[in-house]
Symmetry: C2
Subunit: 301 residues, 2 copies
């Protein structure tokens, strides 16, 4: 997995900072998560191929997470996209986008599918042979979901030494990777575990923004490799965090600790702070493995 932060600042786009959007690449699939204003410009700046984005997950309908979506949908049209595009987000997102298309007398050249969400329980919203995506119900001022991306266990790795030793022909390799035992031409039976190593452990990524401190998410995100948790404020503004239903860096770290995640990435910083390193310092008083998101930054998971 590779995570690219297109924008990770709260509230409004500014000259040098962008509202929330990120691209998660899993085994050559690109998932776009949230789509603040001018996300399409950030995609260009980060040289991400528009045509590889087939699934967009929107957390909630506040502007700094969704106002770039109509522009992206329109630009896909101008680029003569033909692939289907799937958009996952709160109920209302379909009306928001289709009204604007209707008023501009524009219709997409490609299949545009909306998957509107309204459940307050976690549900699987996407699944294929490589990846499962589940919602993480969050608590914010309006209906909001985070998303949990889980790789499926991959195929086993061939033991090159064993292949050579038993002189196994390449036409059997895929069956062996899939876990099958094998019988050689001379009748020798070989168990699969003599021929393979265990697959690379499946990775998982949890995106949680925007949300107030909420222990109800801990079970869902426990043991993930990387948790992106919003930290709009520092503890010095804890009252404001509560009032606006956002989290502080310390609260994000407390969730990371209780969920036993391997790595915490902070983001969604209020633009009132000049120096985002204060968020890392504050979170590290609670949880050791903290990284700071910043626009244009890429993280290997």
């Amino acid at each position: 997995m590779e995570l690219t932060i297109l924008g990770c600042y709260a509230a409004t786009p500014r000259t040098f900072t962008n509202p929330t959007s990120q691209v998660l690449e899993i085994k050559n699939r690109l998932f776009l998560i949230d789509c603040g204003e001018a996300t399409q410009v950030q995609l260009r700046k980060n040289k991400i191929k528009f045509s590889k984005i087939n699934h967009i997950f929107i957390s909630h309908l506040h502007g700094d997470h969704v106002y770039g979506l109509i522009g992206l949908v329109s630009t896909f049209m101008l680029l003569n996209r033909t692939n289907d595009l799937h958009i996952y987000g709160p109920k209302g997102i379909k009306e928001m986008i289709t009204l604007q298309l209707r008023l501009s007398n524009s219709w997409t050249s490609y299949g545009l599918y909306f998957h509107e969400l309204e459940s307050t329980e976690s549900e699987i919203v996407f699944e294929d042979d490589k990846v499962t995506v589940k919602t993480i119900p969050l608590k914010h001022r309006i209906y909001t979901n985070g998303y949990l991306f889980q790789e499926k266990i991959g195929e086993k790795k061939l033991n090159a030494e064993a292949m050579k030793h038993y002189q196994i022909q390449t036409c059997y390799f895929q069956n062996i990777k899939n876990g099958k035992d094998i019988t050689l031409d001379d009748g020798t039976f070989i168990k699969n575990d003599k021929l393979t190593f265990e697959p690379i452990p499946a990775k998982s990524y949890a995106f949680c923004s925007d949300t107030v401190y909420n222990e109800a998410i801990i079970d869902l995100i426990s043991d993930v490799d990387v948790l992106y948790h919003e930290s709009t404020f520092l503890e010095s503004e804890a009252a404001l965090a509560g009032k606006t239903m956002h989290s502080t860096a310390k609260e994000a770290a407390a969730i990371a600790l209780k969920a036993n995640v391997k790595q915490l990435i902070l983001g969604h910083y209020s633009t009132r702070y000049e120096n985002i390193s204060l968020f890392k310092e504050e979170a590290e008083t609670i949880f050791p493995n903290v990284l700071l998101a910043d626009d244009g930054k890429t993280f290997e998971i």
Copy 2:
């Protein structure tokens, strides 16, 4: 008058170019014309005070002219704006903006007034003691208006020599500027034209984008000081211009010539052209006074 180009490229925002938006300053009033995606970022980059914008004129509901409006309306909210904001644009613009506010459960802290247009005849949409704004009905794929901004004749200029000669007290100055004659304490009667010079001629600016070549606008815009006319294409793409209901640089120049305008500014360039100086060259074969709009450029009128 001073015109600042925030964006003047067609279709989509890109890394270094922006969709249509411009700010016209007339006697300390700021008028925003069109509002493509990320216009609020361009306002910041060009150091234009958000709080001075009270009137926004939208030509039509294609994305590259309006998708930045909801973001700007929202940001005004976050900045705790209190002044009324007036938005002029095609019928449907109110629903477009209010639906998005409703879905984000956000309401403006300030008065938000929509003036929806549907007439195909020119009409006065704004007037105060300094400025009149009229629509210029244009022909495009959807309902579109340009806007004609006309300064009203200003007050007369005092003749400083005459003030000194007749020893006129400052308390009379405003009456004299307003055109009144005056009687001195010794009974001498002095006609106003001995005390003043004629006011600085009123300026006018016509914004015409997007539109196919359309001679019907010539009467409305005749003799204006500055005409901004779209030139999406060069003559080499004239067929495409006709099909998409845009103009070529040569057609923009032909309108400027027939309307006897003083200065033509070209803009709304298709992003297919690497070198926009070709637009100027082509227009100058028809009309001499051609300038090229570009993002961040300012023109004194």
